[in-house]
Symmetry: C2
Subunit: 345 residues, 2 copies
């Protein structure tokens, strides 16, 4: 314990080498099991590594430019939304299993925050990036192109991505739900969601929904875009607002299941029978939907899988493997019991 620790109180490879009576280079070789040393030397060095509690400084390795880092920058709009939390979980699980580390960035759905974060994270020389969404600021795009690293855009499937894309087609999600509800006999619809500055996935769903409804001779006669989080209570009071207006809506499509539950609850408390007097449809198939008495009409999305697949193709690309650059994770409409179906007409 008479070792003189270096300035920052950390043991360097040079100190290990000195203690073991070999050169830095030999110690480095042992550390990396590179070969070119005797068994006796290996043991000496390993013993000292253990004894001194040496931890390699990966900064130095990456900095030297010999290796790429094992950072992967991951931007997520927010974690209040359960689905994004699951996507992130999928990403980090997979990245971790491949030896990569997630550097998180919450963008709060804004281009500005995303841009700031991209600038910062790129300065750490990440191996790659995973970004939620397909819309980015001009400066972000420029930085991403200049960075020359793999980028996966997730969530909203981008058929001509910056580099790679994993997600689902949200327009189609909305469209299928619209067609299904028209098929159930509904014609007059309301929509309750939250507005974000960027053109985002929820907007694409609404667009697809509106298209299908209009194709079927119906109408989305009232759209509510609240300035709030896309969660239970906004779904509740959003429904209240929507129904307070002079509306003939027979069915409400919500931005997601959390909001739809809010709507469901509003109806329950105000004696509006579902699906008798009002149809309710959500999106995202939250876990809570599987256990409540009424099965919410929704769309099941493989959140975890999107994250895992994104991490997989990123790592694949980093390993030089040929990868599928666009991956559609698919979705699945859940009929549920909160809209009347053909039989009940």
């Amino acid at each position: 314990m008479t070792e003189k620790p270096s300035k920052n109180n950390k043991v360097s490879l040079a100190e290990v080498a000195r203690a073991a009576g070999v050169s830095k280079m030999t110690a480095s070789r042992v550390l990396r099991s590179e070969g070119g040393y005797s068994e006796k030397t290996r043991e000496k060095v390993m013993a000292k590594i253990d004894q001194l509690g040496y931890l390699p400084n990966r900064l130095a390795t990456v900095f030297a430019g010999d290796q790429t880092s094992t950072f992967v920058g991951v931007s997520i709009p927010d974690l209040g939304n359960e689905v994004f939390a699951q996507v992130l979980e999928g990403i980090d699980q997979k990245l971790g299993s491949f030896g990569y580390q997630t550097v998180l960035g919450l963008t709060q759905h804004t281009h500005e925050q995303e841009e700031t974060w991209i600038r910062t994270v790129l300065s750490w020389q990440p191996a790659g990036l995973i970004l939620t969404g397909r819309s980015h600021s001009a400066r972000s795009l420029e930085m991403l192109r200049n960075a020359g690293i793999p980028v996966v855009e997730i969530w909203d499937l981008n058929s001509s991505p910056l580099d790679m894309s994993v997600g689902i087609n949200h327009f189609d999600c909305g469209f299928d739900m619209g067609r299904y509800l028209v098929g159930c006999g509904y014609r007059q619809f309301g929509y309750v969601g939250t507005s974000h500055n960027a053109a985002n996935a929820a907007t694409a769903r609404l667009d697809g929904f509106t298209k299908a409804v209009e194709d079927g001779g119906g109408k989305v006669q009232r759209q509510l875009c609240l300035h709030d989080t896309a969660s239970f209570y906004p779904g509740y009071y959003g429904t209240e607002q929507l129904l307070a207006g002079d509306t003939q809506a027979e069915c409400i499509f919500f931005q997601n299941d959390s909001m739809a539950f809010g709507g469901l609850q509003y109806c329950a408390r105000n004696g509006i029978s579902v699906p008798g007097e009002m149809g309710i449809a959500g999106w995202g198939d939250l876990p809570v939907a599987s256990v409540l008495g009424t099965r919410l009409t929704s769309v099941r999305v493989p959140h975890l899988k999107i994250g895992q697949k994104a991490a997989e193709i990123l790592v694949g690309r980093l390993s030089g493997e040929p990868v599928q650059t666009v991956f559609d994770a698919g979705f699945h409409l859940i009929p549920g019991s909160t809209v009347r179906n053909i039989e009940t007409l």
Copy 2:
């Protein structure tokens, strides 16, 4: 565009300096607004930085040892659990606002994964760490001590922490709930939760609960620790299992609200009136609790605040400010309507 890009295709400060006709050092000074250059020089350099799209390499700066990095390693058990997602959101928001980056690590509640992650993240020379939980492997503890960086243990308040601690006293949470339920007249209790290897917060709650119940002359006569996630469906079938046994439980305490909702749903489907025939209490006050018809008896915990406070005291410590090393974020019992209260006795 005749600039020769360096090996990794990135523009270095040296190239900027050469293009601007100054030395590296002068360019560095301009970049950091350190002074010691003329306005004319500043303009020349800034113009070239812009023109060449220069992005600083923070690895080099940190590596040189002059500065500490702006990485903060954050370990979270899992993100399937909504409360941890909120804690993480609070952490990343605050860290981001101070210019720090979150390096995420999901430990799946195991010491092994935590240890592996700590080893990796320390090799990136983080400025500090935020760890969920107060229990760590011996090797982890050794590494943490050797690292010589600030560490905040969150979630489960540790009155004699490794370094700093932010969270709540889970024993007290359980105790207060136990005392409250005894006060409601219950004596025979069941518990439904999930088991994890490590001594964790949920266990502390159960311990506190048991203590209060026994102090009040009651008994936790059946404890169910499922090998599953602490979510809705396990709460559902856990309740089924608990009640299938020869039990006289009048009230069930769940590990969290998600599980409690599952239990509530089981009762609803099986004609067990709540709180008439069975009391139900959860923990965590999930957002869903605020909108469903029945207000779940629960404990409100300032999730976001715990994360934010942890980030704050970590940054404070890094800035050399004196900080409060132990911060009790407090909790608040929500009586709810899923247990009979004194009046209904």
